[in-house]
């Protein structure tokens, strides 16, 4: 078959026929020549490698037997157009003869690009909304809803799940608010949250569950390690000097109660309840400490302690 006789001009699209081998002549029609006029002389018959260069070197990566296509940007006047060049086998031989057909896909590709951009923006937006719905805006800790959802997920997903659930409560928080104003109160909350978060490992949920009350679910290791980390956070918070709107800086501390999954409850509600009891004990026991829950915490007939707890009940 003489490829020079192929009725290329009857095809309304840019087209070329050639044998698939370096050094072979490529027969092109007028539409193809017009499309490539800047880079293809008006009468020269290009070679296979010239065509490959026109297509950005993509031709050699194509398998002529598999009906591949190439997307190549071509300038028409000043406009950039994206052409899809389809390769089709027209006769098999020692070297295959192929037909290359170009279709202007600019409008379709532009529409696709816009659509995917919109979808990307909307997805980002949804993620942001999701984040806002699950986060306390001041401290960027998870909120109560997110805490319960993530706990449920963990229990379902992690095999042999184990964790500690702790409640942390900033000591004398009301006093800071009353004495230095709400802006300072917010500053205390934010500083506290940043410090505690910085000392927690990856496998924790850190949530704000009340005014100055936070919850830490630690599922990274043993209960002893979790308690150790809380103690570390307490030491770090205690060392801070916070500048107040008045002259003297203040120190802050927190009290924490810790409940252990399994031993002290299976549901988050039960665990929080027991962590809260231990927290209550910590508050009565001089504050600024981490107290693990145990069933006999209040059974010890420590009269001074009971007196302190009663005293606390009256004041808070």
């Amino acid at each position: 078959m003489d490829l020079g006789d192929f009725p290329l001009e009857s095809i309304g699209l840019p087209a070329a026929v050639f044998r698939w081998e370096a050094g072979q002549h490529v027969h092109v029609n007028a539409a193809f020549r017009a499309l490539m006029e800047d880079r293809l002389g008006s009468d020269k018959t290009p070679l296979f490698e010239d065509l490959d260069a026109l297509l950005g070197g993509q031709l050699q990566d194509v398998n002529p037997e598999s009906e591949d296509s190439i997307i190549q940007e071509v300038k028409i006047g000043r406009k950039r157009h994206s052409f899809e060049f389809n390769v089709g086998l027209i006769s098999r031989g020692e070297t295959n003869a192929v037909l290359l057909l170009g279709v202007d896909k600019s409008d379709v590709l532009k529409a696709e690009a816009k659509l995917s951009s919109y979808v990307g923006i909307i997805e980002e937006n949804n993620r942001e909304l999701q984040r806002l719905a699950n986060t306390d805006p001041l401290t960027e800790a998870a909120n109560r809803r997110a805490l319960f959802n993530r706990f449920e997920e963990l229990v379902k997903q992690v095999s042999d799940f184990h964790c500690t659930v702790s409640i942390l409560d900033i000591d004398h928080f009301k006093r800071y608010n009353d004495e230095y104003g709400h802006d300072f109160g917010d500053f205390v909350l934010k500083t506290f949250a940043d410090q505690v978060r910085a000392r927690l490992a990856d496998k924790t949920i850190f949530a704000r569950i009340g005014g100055e009350e936070f919850c830490v679910v630690d599922y990274s290791g043993s209960a002893d390690i979790a308690k150790g980390k809380l103690q570390g956070a307490l030491d770090a918070v205690r060392d801070l000097q916070l500048d107040t709107p008045k002259t003297e800086p203040v120190n802050i501390t927190f009290s924490a109660g810790v409940a252990e999954f399994g031993k002290d409850g299976e549901t988050l509600d039960d665990l929080l309840k027991n962590a809260d009891r231990a927290l209550y004990y910590a508050k009565a026991n001089g504050r600024s400490c981490v107290i693990p829950y145990s069933a006999d915490l209040f059974e010890k007939r420590d009269t001074t302690l009971i007196a302190r707890v009663d005293n606390l009940k009256v004041r808070e």
């Binding site: 406009k79 532009k110 690009a113 995917s116 990307g120």
Partner: protein
């Protein structure tokens, strides 16, 4: 909540056409087109869609750090800045955006200039 210009002018349905117009305007401009030589078309459209959605108070937001980083090293000149603002104004006018709204958008865009021009 106050309606954003993005919503006022028809959301993505309008941005779609605005991006088209802006895209043609930018690539048709001798000063601007070289900056986009070799830039993938879908990337360019994504960039412009976000640019407009954001400038009109829509859902996409350009975070300043990101804005600065992506334009760094591109050697964007005062001349190129002026050219892109001209294409922007031309585009907004073509879509009959009210004069006051154009000023709002232009003001928002102008505030980002130090992050973009070297």
């Amino acid at each position: 909540m106050e309606q954003s210009l993005f919503e006022k002018y028809g959301g993505f349905a309008t941005i779609h056409k605005v991006v088209e117009h802006f895209y043609d305007g930018v690539l048709d401009n001798d000063i601007l087109s070289p900056y986009f030589e070799g830039v993938d078309m879908s990337q360019l459209i994504d960039h412009q869609t976000r640019f407009f959605a954001s400038a009109m108070g829509g859902p996409a937001s350009f975070d300043d750090g990101h804005l600065e980083k992506t334009h760094q090293g591109l050697g964007i000149t005062e001349e190129a800045w002026d050219a892109v603002v001209a294409v922007l104004l031309d585009t907004l006018n073509a879509f009959n955006v009210e004069e006051g709204d154009i000023q709002l958008i232009a003001g928002a865009v102008a505030s980002k200039k130090p992050l973009i021009v070297q």
